[in-house]
């Protein structure tokens, strides 16, 4: 199949996937989009929202539509790393001898839902670090590869912070996107009620499988980025670094730390994925701008003044986006 055909097929599959998920999840188009973009870009997603908004349902529906193995981990304060990764157990062999056998943990699936990830201890949370970054687990001195593709979709409750352990910056940085799930609108709520209380059972059709997803991930990485668009992404990232030449005023005022290079990678990958979903062969400024909030909101660390004044990273990112000039990177062509 030629690349052109692949691109056409990708777009088609993407739209089908979206509409399939839409059968179960009412509204939340930007969340669904963001999740799918992250999946096709090969990243993990952190979903933050109050309970009952359909975060878990989204992940479950996604796993059904993608025909991927799915495991759910409910994070509790007493959860141990071995509960996630697996452990060596003593088993009796056929010969009657005792031997150690590694029992895989729930992380060994394509799609892992880490529910309320902030309720587990840092020790347990850090067990996810290697898995999310390296896509492998080291247990009993042995490195075991995780399934491919591998996604972690974590959820977080913004309220009820007592007895929780906020994710460390290192772990936050490993999430591709942080998506904030909001309340549904009136119409959406009505639809939710209609769908969930009338006894109907909605079947989700498999649209893609793991191999296809891997193929599409490779395709997305091939999408070219024009120089001026890439420069724009770079300028955006640099604008988040306080006490530098490129920092904006709001950065210096409210940020302690800015985005790491992973933020730039995320921006570009997400923009590439968005471009392909719209049937374009090139990345545009709009693609970058649509990815700014989900890609960078969890990578900026506000200072005390921002917290005291209630300034969120979303607000800071809006200001930075407004101030950074898109056109500065347009080159003269002869």
């Amino acid at each position: 199949m030629s690349i052109e055909e692949k691109i056409g097929l990708f777009r088609k599959d993407y739209n089908r996937l979206k509409s399939e998920i839409g059968k179960v999840i009412v509204g939340h188009e930007d969340i669904v989009d963001g999740t799918l973009i992250a999946v096709f870009a090969g990243g993990h997603v952190l979903l933050e929202g109050v309970p009952g908004l359909g975060k878990t349902l989204l992940v479950r529906t996604l796993s059904q539509a993608l025909n991927l193995s799915f495991n759910r981990i409910q994070f509790t304060p007493d959860l141990m790393p071995a509960d996630i990764l697996g452990t060596n157990l003593v088993v009796e062999t056929q010969a009657g001898r005792k031997a150690f056998e590694f029992q895989k943990g729930p992380i060994f699936a394509h799609l892992v839902l880490a529910d309320e990830i902030n309720r587990a201890t840092p020790k347990t949370q850090s067990a996810m670090l290697e898995a999310m970054q390296e896509k492998s687990v080291t247990a009993g001195g042995e490195i075991r590869k995780l399934a491919s593709p591998f996604f972690v979709l974590a959820t977080q409750n913004p309220i009820d912070q007592e007895g929780t352990y906020p994710l460390p910056e290192a772990q936050l940085d490993r999430f591709f996107f942080k998506l904030v799930v909001t309340y549904p609108s009136g119409d959406e709520l009505t639809e939710v009620i209609n769908r969930t209380t009338d006894g109907r059972n909605i079947e989700v059709t498999e649209i893609l499988d793991g191999n296809k997803i891997c193929e599409y991930q490779e395709l997305i990485r091939q999408v070219p980025v024009p120089k001026h668009v890439r420069d724009y992404a770079v300028r955006l990232i640099l604008a988040t670094h306080p006490q530098t030449e490129t920092a904006e005023d709001i950065t210096n005022q409210y940020l302690r730390f800015g985005s790491s290079p992973r933020g730039a990678q995320t921006l570009i990958l997400a923009a590439k994925a968005r471009a392909l979903t719209e049937g374009r062969f090139n990345v545009s400024f709009d693609d970058i701008q649509q990815s700014i909030l989900p890609a960078l909101r969890h990578r900026l660390i506000p200072n005390f003044e921002a917290e005291a004044e209630g300034i969120t990273t979303d607000h800071i990112l809006h200001e930075i986006e407004a101030k950074v000039d898109r056109q500065a990177g347009v080159s003269t062509q002869s």
């Binding site: 690349i3 052109e4 691109i7 091939q222 999408v223 070219p224 024009p226 120089k227 001026h228 668009v229 471009a275 719209e278 374009r280 062969f281 090139n282 990345v283 545009s284 400024f285 709009d286 693609d287 056109q327 347009v330 080159s331 003269t332 062509q333 002869s334």
Partner: protein, 641 residues
């Protein structure tokens, strides 16, 4: 390559069209900023005493900015990248074209991008992308213009001192220009013969230039004017001491001097023509005037001829017939045409009143014409009488033009060698008679003596040369006299300049009669004064002396130095001579005299004599303020036919 080329071509085309739009925006931006600059300058101009040139420069900057605004965009080369971005934004194509410019067709993805770009660019019409709507700068410009127009009606704030200073500068500049103009005209009319005169005139021109540039303040201008005036006065006084020039000055005031050897012939011819027209026994103009008076009376009487019942008043008719008959007879006897009178008599007798009155009017016209001719003839005769008949007379009267021509004629005659002995003797006698009169003429006398001796010795050629040399020397003296006149005129103008600058009055106001020594006649003494300010060298047309009285001296007395005189106690002036009230015009002096307006029926010389007598009386009785006595005396001295 094809796709890329096509995309580039289309973008180039769009870029060129976009330049027009940018020029349109640039035009309004330039206009707006120029208007803003103008408004700011106008506000400053209204509030502070800045010169008007600042506003003018600001206006020029406005125009320049309005031109530069669009020109910058119009002549800027098309930037494909910028154009591609612009088209992407206009058509919301999400950087398709900017990406297309970056990639090559040989690359896989480059190929897709270019194909995609080509697909979209074919659908785009650059004409539709360009929109010539009025930008916000245009709307703001309207506001700025409205404010500027409103401010235009607001009077600018200037202190009185500043306004006065501006006025003073303008007066000084104008005075300078007038001086420069005058000097140029004077040098053109009478090029200076002497070096000191040339230097003095050059100083005046230089001063005029300095004044016209506005480089001198009032005090410095007055100081410089005084300096230059002093210099000119010295030079004038030096020339004035020469007796020959004094004689020429005296002659210049007589009408005879206005004649020249060239137009003598014309004068003679005119006299002959008039004599021919009037007949050999021309009636004296006094008789003509009497007859004119009688005719006027007759005509007035004739207006009552018509009786109320119709027909004519017989008694009056009889009386008129008699008077008319006598008049016609008298006219015939005195050589005046009586045709109209006789025709009137005939019509009166026949009872044709209308024709009678018409004939009377025609007779009046004829008589008036005859009177004019008679008057003209008399004037010409008077002038001719005034011209010296021989060399001695010419030299004595200061008629240097005639004297010089006389010498040249004699020299030519001697050179021709065709003179008879009688003629030679006559010439010698004339020369010898002229020698005493030539005493005031310097070496002219010497050359006349030499010529006379040479003639006695029979050396006619030598004598001719001597006479020619004498003529040349006379011409030299005439040139010096011309210089003197130029200096005089320059002094008059300098005085006007001093008055203008000193009193802060315009040139025209300072140049009015009575404001300078030797000024021209003013309005208080008749309307015959010439406006030119100089003696007009032309033949007077109507002025004539019909009193029949031969005056011993017709020429004006000329300027005479009578000294300051001794003032009667109690009449000592409280004002220093030459200083006037600042800003106040000089008071006018009313003289008793014949104040005549309109068409004068009184002879000029009669009025002049009366005015001169009155002026003399006023001066001797100390009725004229001391500061003005010289001016008044000089003025009336220069009056004359």
């Amino acid at each position: 390559m094809k796709d890329r080329k096509l995309v580039e071509q289309k973008l180039m085309h769009a870029g060129k069209r976009r330049r027009w739009q940018q020029s349109w925006m640039g035009l309004w931006k330039g206009f707006f900023w120029g208007a803003l600059l103008w408004l700011s300058t106008l506000i400053v101009f209204k509030l502070f005493p800045v010169p008007f040139e600042v506003l003018a420069w600001s206006g020029a900057a406005w125009v320049t900015m309005t031109i530069i605004g669009p020109a910058r965009s119009l002549f800027k080369p098309v930037d494909l990248g910028e154009t591609a971005q612009w088209v992407d934004d206009q058509c919301k194509l999400k950087e398709r074209f900017t990406a297309a410019l970056e990639f090559q067709e040989r690359e896989t993805w480059g190929n897709f991008i270019l194909k995609d770009a080509k697909h979209f660019i074919e659908q785009i019409k650059p004409r539709n992308l360009v929109c010539f709507k009025l930008p916000s700068a245009a709307k703001w410009s309207v506001l700025v213009l409205a404010v500027s127009v409103g401010l235009g009606f607001a009077p600018e704030y200037r202190t009185e001192a500043y306004t006065e200073k501006e006025r003073e500068e303008a007066i000084i500049k104008n005075t300078g220009k007038q001086l420069v103009t005058f000097i140029r005209q004077e040098i053109k009319k009478r090029p200076p013969a002497l070096k000191p005169t040339e230097s003095a005139m050059a100083d005046v021109a230089e001063l005029g230039t300095q004044l016209s540039k506005g480089k001198l303040k009032r005090s410095n201008a007055l100081r410089d004017l005084a300096k230059v005036t002093e210099k000119l006065k010295k030079e004038h006084a030096r020339l004035d001491r020469k007796p020959a020039l004094k004689r020429m000055q005296k002659a210049a005031r007589t009408p005879a001097e206005s004649a020249s050897p060239k137009n003598l012939n014309a004068m003679q011819k005119r006299m002959d023509t008039l004599k021919q027209q009037m007949g050999e026994n021309a009636t004296p103009s006094s008789d003509l005037q009497e007859m004119q008076r009688e005719l006027d009376q007759l005509k007035q009487t004739a207006s009552g001829l018509q009786s109320p019942e119709g027909g004519m008043n017989e008694a009056l008719k009889q009386s008129l017939t008699q008077q008319l008959g006598e008049m016609a007879q008298k006219a015939a006897q005195t050589g005046i045409s009586s045709e109209q009178l006789e025709a009137a008599l005939a019509n009166l007798k026949s009872g044709d009143l209308e024709k009678f009155l018409k004939n009377l009017s025609d007779a009046q016209i004829d008589m008036e014409k005859t009177a004019q001719m008679s008057s003209e003839l008399q004037n010409l005769q008077m002038q001719m009488d005034q011209i010296g008949k021989n060399l001695a007379e010419q030299l004595e009267k200061g008629q240097s033009t005639f004297a010089r021509q006389n010498l040249i004629d004699k020299s030519n005659k001697l050179t021709s060698g065709q003179l008879s002995e009688e003629e030679l003797q006559k010439m010698l006698k004339e020369l010898q008679n002229a020698i005493p009169e030539a005493a005031d003429y310097g070496i002219v006398q010497d050359f006349l003596k030499k010529a006379s001796k040479q003639m006695q010795q029979g050396d006619e050629e030598g004598a001719a040369k001597s006479l020619q040399t004498a003529a040349d020397e006379l011409e030299n003296l005439m040139d010096q006299f011309g210089d003197m006149q130029s200096l005089m005129a320059s002094l008059e103008n300098l005085a006007t300049a001093k008055m203008s600058v000193g009193n802060g009055m315009s040139w025209g106001q300072s140049n009015k009669p009575g404001f300078k020594p030797g000024g021209k006649p003013g309005k208080g003494v008749g309307t015959w004064g010439e406006e030119g300010g100089t003696w007009q060298k032309k033949l007077p047309q109507r002025a004539a002396d019909n009193s029949g009285v031969t005056r011993p001296e017709m020429a004006g007395k000329g300027p005479s130095d009578r000294g300051e005189g001794k003032l009667v106690d109690g009449l000592t002036s409280t004002k220093v001579k030459g200083q006037f009230n600042s800003g106040a015009p000089m008071p006018s002096i009313t003289l008793k005299g014949l104040s005549i307006k309109g068409q004068s029926r009184v002879e000029f010389t009669e009025s002049v004599t009366a005015a001169q007598a009155d002026a003399q009386s006023a001066l001797s009785q100390q009725r004229v303020p001391r500061a003005y006595q010289t001016t008044v005396r000089d003025y009336f001295d220069e009056l004359g036919p």
